[in-house]
């Protein structure tokens, strides 16, 4: 035990062999987690070795009584990591799409799965970045699975995950942002204000001068400029709402 604590690899191997059945018992308690048994065992072994490093032999606590906590904790963390709902940032989604694209290109070109190093080179992502991002795709639970086993719960796993498996996930997310932003911002404007802004800055059409826009609307260029100024002020106000004075502390 002391040799294992000190990092003696042979002692560690013997320790693992001795406690593998006990680790297997703990892993069985996670059988409903849908994480593969081998992965659970690997994490359990890692937990056992943490316990070995921390175990205080002078306290006379039975080793397994102490180590079981670390083994279970390591498995719990793995299950949590692999099955918890993940809220991906749009950057993460973009990088996942990049990984997927690189993998697909590699498969097409070479007919075999790329290694992590090859993916890392192709995407400019570091190995740890790559592994963390790929871990988010390993969620093994059904997308339609209810999140609790109570009848009244309505949310499913699928409801909580920004789907990183869609081929165009990144573009989809960006589109969603764009659509939302555009809708949110321009909803603050009336039709004439929208027309002026879009025409003046060439948003989805050829850009026009204020004089040209004014002529089309039957207005002077100066009036078109005023309409634009009001529109920009409205958009700014929509983005900079402050707390009510009465509610804020003085």
């Amino acid at each position: 035990m002391i040799a294992a604590e000190c990092g003696d690899s042979d002692a560690c191997r013997k320790l693992v062999e001795a406690f593998l059945p006990a680790i297997g018992d703990v892993a069985r308690s996670f059988k409903n987690s849908r994480v593969e048994r081998l992965e659970l065992l690997q994490e359990g072994v890692a937990g056992l070795l943490v316990a070995a490093r921390r175990y205080d032999t002078t306290l006379n606590t039975p080793f397994w009584a102490y180590a079981a906590f670390w083994v279970r904790k390591a498995m719990q963390e793995l299950v949590a990591e692999l099955t918890r709902p993940v809220a991906l940032s749009d950057r993460a989604v973009r990088e996942l799409a990049q990984i997927r694209r690189a993998r697909s290109e590699h498969l097409q070109m070479h007919g075999v799965e790329p290694t992590s190093d090859e993916l890392s080179r192709a995407t400019d992502l570091t190995r740890p970045q790559l592994e963390h991002l790929q871990a988010t795709e390993r969620t093994p639970r059904s997308m339609q699975e209810q999140l609790t086993d109570r009848d009244e719960a309505t949310a499913t796993i699928g409801d909580t995950i920004v789907d990183p498996t869609a081929e165009q996930a990144y573009q989809h997310v960006l589109d969603a942002f764009e659509i939302r932003d555009m809708r949110d911002l321009t909803q603050q404007l009336d039709e004439r204000e929208r027309t002026v802004i879009r025409a003046h800055y060439g948003l989805g059409q050829e850009a026009q001068t204020l004089r040209e826009i004014g002529a089309e609307l039957g207005l002077t260029a100066e009036r078109a400029r005023q309409i634009e100024a009001v529109a920009l002020s409205k958009l700014r106000a929509a983005l900079s709402q402050s707390a009510p004075t009465g509610g804020a502390a003085t």
Binding site: R84, A92, T148, T160, L239, S240, A248, A249
Partner: protein, 304 residues
């Protein structure tokens, strides 16, 4: 700077299980509701379902916010929470909130979100709110948990409220973890005219030439308007404008003639009396906005 406007209480709860989360969050909110305070729960959909059930009839008096896709960029997340809190503070004089924090899987982003938590202290410092940020200890990497103690003056862990002796001044922390902007090669100077309107027209041409979508173009035009107005009002005018592509994004740099400023939370301060909203607006509309001194002058770099 952390004590600037001390209305806010910004604490954290590190929980090991759903039971522990509920045992802390539910009484915390119910005590506020009984005292006439507003109540907000921010969580993923399953978390909200769990809280609704645990709160029982009191759930009707709580605002529930789905944060499944809220943690995209710190400025946007701050703005989203700000909108919710402002709305609540129109109804009640004070509020309590329990907000479950969602970090992404990329370690490179963890500092960004720790910075977000630090900025939160200054951003919402003026709001009469008690916000309990909750962190699921299972599966949350150690550096993030360490950041919790650095960014919240009090943390609930191991069944007790603990004053954090690792709490760090938000400005100090933001300076420590924010990398200095590196010079970007490949940006080209563009004419910027004599007014903000002429600058917008020029930028619009650049955006169209780069095939940037309508919504993003409008975002950049609005953000650049704010920065340009700042440069003209406080920075002695515009010295140079550069645009181009870097790391796959459209970038616009506006250099002014002034001395600039040195505030790591610039643009993260929610609008309030005495605080200009221009940089707040610019940050919301862009992927990232950096302020720094460069050889050509005080520079604002906008990443679209």
């Amino acid at each position: 700077m952390s004590s600037e406007g001390t209305a806010l209480r910004h604490n954290a709860l590190v929980y090991e299980s759903k039971d522990e989360y509920l045992a802390r969050a539910v009484p915390f909110l119910k005590a506020g509701i009984e005292a006439g305070e507003g109540a907000v729960v921010a969580h993923t959909k399953p978390g909200l379902a769990m809280m609704r059930e645990a709160l029982g009839p009191e759930a009707a008096r709580v605002t529930f916010v789905d944060v499944s896709a809220a943690y995209t960029r710190p400025a946007r997340t701050l703005a989203a929470y700000h909108e919710v809190y402002v709305e609540q503070l129109r109804k009640t004089p004070t509020l309590r909130a329990v907000a479950d924090v969602q970090f992404g899987p990329d370690p490179d982003e963890w500092n960004l979100w720790t910075g977000y938590e630090a900025a939160f202290n200054r951003s919402f410092g003026h709001l009469p709110a008690w916000v309990l940020c909750s962190y699921d200890a299972n599966g949350t990497p150690d550096p993030i948990i360490e950041g919790v103690w650095q960014t919240h003056p009090e943390v609930v862990a191991d069944d007790s409220w603990n004053s954090s002796d690792r709490y760090e001044d938000p400005d100090h922390l933001l300076r420590r973890i924010t990398p200095a902007p590196a010079p970007l090669t490949g940006l080209r100077p563009i004419p910027f005219g004599r007014s903000v309107e002429e600058l917008r027209e020029q930028l619009a041409r650049e955006l169209a030439a780069d095939k940037i979508g309508e919504a993003q173009s409008l975002d950049l035009l609005l953000a650049a308007t704010e920065i340009a107005n700042n440069a003209m009002q406080h920075g002695g005018g515009i010295q140079e404008v550069r645009v181009g592509r870097a790391r796959g994004r459209f970038v616009c740099e506006i250099v002014d003639r002034g001395d600039g400023f040195d505030d790591p939370a610039a643009g993260y301060l929610a609008p309030r009396a005495g605080v200009g909203a221009g940089l707040w607006v610019a940050r919301q509309l862009t992927w990232s906005t950096e302020f720094f001194h460069s050889p050509t002058g005080f520079t604002t770099r906008i990443w679209l």
